[in-house]
């Protein structure tokens, strides 16, 4: 998927972890420590980078990078 790598970079930057620590299909919340605000910050960064509005109801710490990238692909553009 085209935006998978970009999603990985964004998530790694927000969570301040090496991109290599994030696998495409594992739950992000299991791979790295996330606190209550992490997902909101990831959503904001994805919105800004991709010019979309990621739906808040669909976000969960159990999502994988691939899930996130799929969500971005079907999110409405701003």
């Amino acid at each position: 998927m085209e935006n998978l790598e970009k999603t990985r970079e964004i998530v790694a930057r927000v969570l301040r972890v090496p991109a290599a620590s994030l696998t495409p299909d594992g739950p992000i919340g299991e791979a790295v420590a996330m606190d209550s605000l992490s997902l909101a910050e990831i959503a904001s960064a994805l919105d800004d980078e991709f010019g979309v509005r990621v739906p808040g109801d669909d976000l969960a710490a159990s999502m994988s990078l691939r899930d996130l990238a799929t969500l971005v692909a079907r999110s409405p553009r701003r």
Binding site: D35, S36, A40, A43, G56, L59, A60
Partner: protein, 306 residues
């Protein structure tokens, strides 16, 4: 014979509140008795609270003790009022009709305190036309320790509040906070207490308060920045048999703005005006400038239940 904490909680939540649900006058009178009982239950906490009040407000130890007793009574009275309104829902609109409640246009974080009557304030605001108001609160799980009777009461109150407001409480887990962000971006409003001690939060912020520095949860500041939402300081407190709203200056996001610090500067004004309505004196540590402790004296998890 010493009464255990669980025994006191059973008395307060299992005996007093059912009676308060039948008689508002009884509930308000009983809140003084509950405050007296709480004062006796934990003299160490009382000493912490009165020391902070005396220092913050520049009052004598005796006056500080009176303010702390009033604060304990305020929390007990809020519970009694809630119990009564739970049994008399139809009376809520009349009790808040002349409260001065309003909602300014635009998305905003309504930053309140553990002060006065926060739940009734939320209920009233949530039913104003176009409110789109969500509430964010700590979950009533094991991360928020309290006696069994208090937890059962708090869960009933939350369920009632959700039913009457038509809004589910948003928790503080990552998914809920992401939904809170989306709610603001969609033009909604959030209602949340901001006087949560920093040691129960993943992100902390230092704010000036009463000439010192307090460490509080910093999540609201981050949500405000992420969504460019204004912060509207407000509290609700009892006035006669009704209630009144107090509003601080609305803080618009922008370059060089420290929204949470500015919100606390506003909120300090109403606490100074009505110090006996603020429940957090024992829980929110105040340190001299530049020195903020990692832990609060009274510890996390023993705060008010709203």
């Amino acid at each position: 014979m010493a009464v255990s904490d669980a025994g006191r909680a059973d008395w307060r939540y299992g005996r007093i509140l059912p009676l308060a649900s039948r008689s508002r006058a009884f509930g308000r009178a009983a809140s003084a008795l509950v405050a007296w009982s709480e004062l006796r239950r934990d003299p160490e906490r009382a000493a912490v609270a009165t020391g902070r009040i005396a220092s913050a407000l520049g009052v004598s130890p005796g006056a500080a003790l009176g303010i702390y007793r009033d604060a304990l009574r305020s929390e007990a009275r809020e519970e009694a009022d809630a119990a009564w309104f739970m049994a008399h829902e139809d009376r809520i609109p009349a009790a808040l009709a002349r409260s001065g409640a309003r909602l300014d246009p635009g998305p905003a974080i309504l930053a309140t305190l553990h002060f006065g009557s926060p739940v009734l304030g939320f209920l009233h605001l949530s039913r104003l036309p176009g409110a789109r108001l969500a509430i964010v609160a700590r979950p009533l799980d094991d991360s928020n320790p309290m006696p069994r009777a208090k937890r059962e009461w708090a869960r009933r109150k939350v369920a009632w509040t959700e039913r009457v407001s038509g809004r589910s409480f948003l928790s503080i887990d990552p998914g809920s906070v992401a939904r809170a962000r989306a709610h603001l971006l969609d033009g909604g409003r959030l209602f949340t207490p901001v006087d949560v001690p920093g040691d129960v939060s993943a992100r902390r912020a230092r704010v000036r308060l009463f000439g010192g520095v307090a460490e509080v949860s910093g999540g609201i500041e981050i949500l405000s920045r992420l969504t460019r939402s204004a912060i509207q300081p407000l509290v609700t407190y009892p006035r006669g048999n009704g209630f009144a709203f107090w509003y601080g200056r609305r803080i618009e996001p922008g370059e060089g703005v420290e929204p949470l610090a500015e919100a606390f500067a506003e909120l300090e004004g109403i606490v100074r005006e009505r110090p006996g309505e603020w429940w957090m004196w024992p829980y929110l540590d105040l340190r001299p400038n530049g020195r903020v402790g990692a832990e609060n004296a009274a510890g996390p998890g023993h705060g008010p239940n709203s």
